[in-house]
Symmetry: C2
Subunit: 402 residues, 2 copies
């Protein structure tokens, strides 16, 4: 392809604190290319193509683009729309009408399936299209990549939250409550596991982490909590929203509050409430909880600088790959060996990624199934972009009683 053609970029699925960095990486790199004419944004993902709701990103000011990088949410608008088979023809028609030859889509599993299907249909129709996926998910469950942009920032938020809330709980004293923090991650526990990055010693929060990858009975969970509570005088627990019983059914289902979204995914609710009820019932101690929910994916103030830079770079690399004739592929993060953290950017086939879910491997979960291993910490620590603030405790030299 020698003539200039148009590029379209979209955002899909749940926003992250850094998804707009990927968008601006795409725009900045496209602006540098003399092979690209129009730089279009699709409003609300694939719906913006179906409805021809496209915007001209060339007309946005440099200052706006720069500020968008540090703005939460998805600046183009996002969508949770399951593309129907008949939609693909319509998508290709719109692409052809607008001479769109480069399609960059920033999203997670479902979105990568969309990119894959579009690339396949274009090939079948003989329409030259370079469709490239840019990874995005706080859940970190995309296959064929070391990690995904959005995860590092959410992990930093979670580690910070559990540490701050944990110090608060600790100060309530031996008669104080047990603290539960509910953490996002429907089927993969990467984010809940990241709470462990808050911890410097066994006494520090979190003391226990429960993940969807390992079933746990209420009896075992409460026994764990009791043991910690007796030993340290307080207990702070990271609870994934996706935790399951030993038979694989979810705690959320037990609460009778399961909701199903447009993709047929279960939306989990009431998980920490269910756990708190078990603790009160079996241990007689009230558990309090935090449900930071959407703050986990939107708190720009606590975003990881490493994640911000990598998200931007993923957008840049996406355009480079598309210009280099890639299609049906996703930007993949490959960790370089060696003691210093470094990433190189490669391409992975979307056929190996679409609709897959990468859960936490066994070697990252401790034998008891209630925490993580050093190997996980080594994996996750570089992604949050530097240490958390330095906290302290008093030495508490006693004054002699009189």
């Amino acid at each position: 392809m020698t003539a200039r053609a148009n590029l379209v970029v979209g955002q899909s699925g749940g926003p992250t604190a850094v998804i707009n960095n990927s968008l601006i990486g795409v725009v900045h790199q496209a602006l540098k290319s003399d092979k690209i004419d129009g730089i279009y944004g699709m409003l609300h993902g694939i719906r913006g193509v179906l409805d021809q709701e496209l915007i001209d990103l060339r007309r946005e000011s440099a200052q706006t683009l720069e500020r968008i990088r540090m703005t939460p949410g998805s600046a183009l608008g996002t969508v949770r729309y399951k593309v129907r088979p008949e939609d693909y023809d319509r998508l290709l028609d719109v692409f052809a009408k607008h001479d769109i030859r480069y399609f960059l889509y920033i999203g997670g599993n479902d979105s990568m399936d969309t990119v894959y299907q579009v690339s396949q249909v274009a090939r079948q129709r003989g329409y030259e299209l370079h469709a490239v996926g840019v990874p995005k998910t706080i859940d970190n469950d995309l296959a064929q990549t070391d990690h995904s942009p959005g995860f590092g920032s959410a992990a930093r938020f979670v580690a910070s939250a559990i540490r701050n809330s944990g110090y608060d709980t600790e100060s309530m004293g031996p008669d104080g409550p047990i603290k539960l923090v509910e953490i996002m991650g429907r089927n993969a526990g990467w984010l809940a596991a990241s709470a462990a990055l808050a911890k410097d010693s066994a006494y520090d929060p979190p003391h226990l982490i429960y993940l969807p990858e390992r079933g746990v009975s209420p009896e075992a969970l409460v026994a764990d909590v009791e043991s910690v509570y007796r030993e340290y005088g307080y207990c702070v627990v990271a609870v994934s929203e996706g935790i399951v019983y030993e038979d694989g059914t979810s705690y959320a289902s037990a609460a009778g509050r399961t909701i199903v979204d447009a993709f047929g995914h279960e939306v989990k609710q009431g998980v920490v409430e269910t756990v708190a009820d078990y603790i009160l019932d079996k241990l007689g101690v009230r558990a309090r909880f935090d449900k930071p929910s959407y703050l986990q994916r939107s708190c720009v103030e606590l975003a990881s600088p490493v994640d911000q830079a990598e998200a931007y770079r993923a957008g840049v690399e996406g355009v480079r790959a598309a210009l280099n004739c890639a299609t049906g592929q996703m930007i993949s993060f490959v960790r370089e060996p060696g003691p210093e953290y470094a990433i190189r950017y490669e391409l992975a086939d979307l056929s190996q990624i679409a609709n897959q879910e990468k859960v936490i491997p066994a070697e990252y979960i401790n034998a008891e199934g209630n925490g993580v291993t050093e190997a996980f910490l080594d994996y996750a620590r570089p992604l949050i972009g530097g240490p958390l603030p330095s906290l302290a405790r008093l030495s508490k030299y006693p004054v002699a009683k009189r």
Copy 2:
């Protein structure tokens, strides 16, 4: 009193992100005085005196003290213990045994009552004691002071949270959910009101704020939400945990989940869930929610620099007042008139403060009872310590349909 005597300091009630600044302000100022010998900390507030669990703060390193300033929770440990009348004699006995003549207590309404009672009993017994209260509460409901340390940092967190989560919600588009954020404040809506500091225009979140000071019917609330949702395509609501129906009963009670703490205070639960149910029932739209709970009072990363400095200064002024023979008084913040924000520190009688609750005055609440006035914003803005991060939206110049 000419001889050197000992000082004791304690922390009480719910921690804040800056309560340790007040503690270190006390310690640093006490270290400067040649009238003070021992500088003792009481572990877990008044219980630490009753049980003679005192620590020697002179032995803590300067570095530890400095790091404690930016550590969440209450470094001495805190307590929610309702002092019984018979405890006061025991407290005075312990003070006398340890020659404690300066008593600094950092806390909210209940704690100020304790300081007041201790000062009265000391006077009756003819025991020379200088008992001074240092204000602390994220609820900002202490009387006789312009505001209280802890509030500014929690307000900054709330404004930040609702803005980040609001941008996230906005990007979900016109078919997206309604977002509710549950905000602390049992009987006073200062913190929920502070969500308004996130807002630059009518389109920005939060669109609606509900406070305990104004009763609202589910019908009126849902009508407000529907109106915003139709006009702006999304709706973000700040909901105080203490909101009440028009007859004054709480939404929490309606959820059948009211819990009563050691002081006989109701602990509210299930408020946003109740509101979400009303919205789904009457409007047919699902509302999602965030319950950041204890993060509101513990997130050191988002603490207000103004609040940090004022909390420290309140501790310093407390020691100065005690050395200056004050007793039965609290450090009071008085705002200087004029366009530049400035505070001077005075003393207020605890008899006017103990067990009072300062709710939001009528002139700070809008006529509809679903938001705040400019006067409130002028009051609250300086306390959060500078503007929130600068965010942006795309201009969205449309591409012509073909």
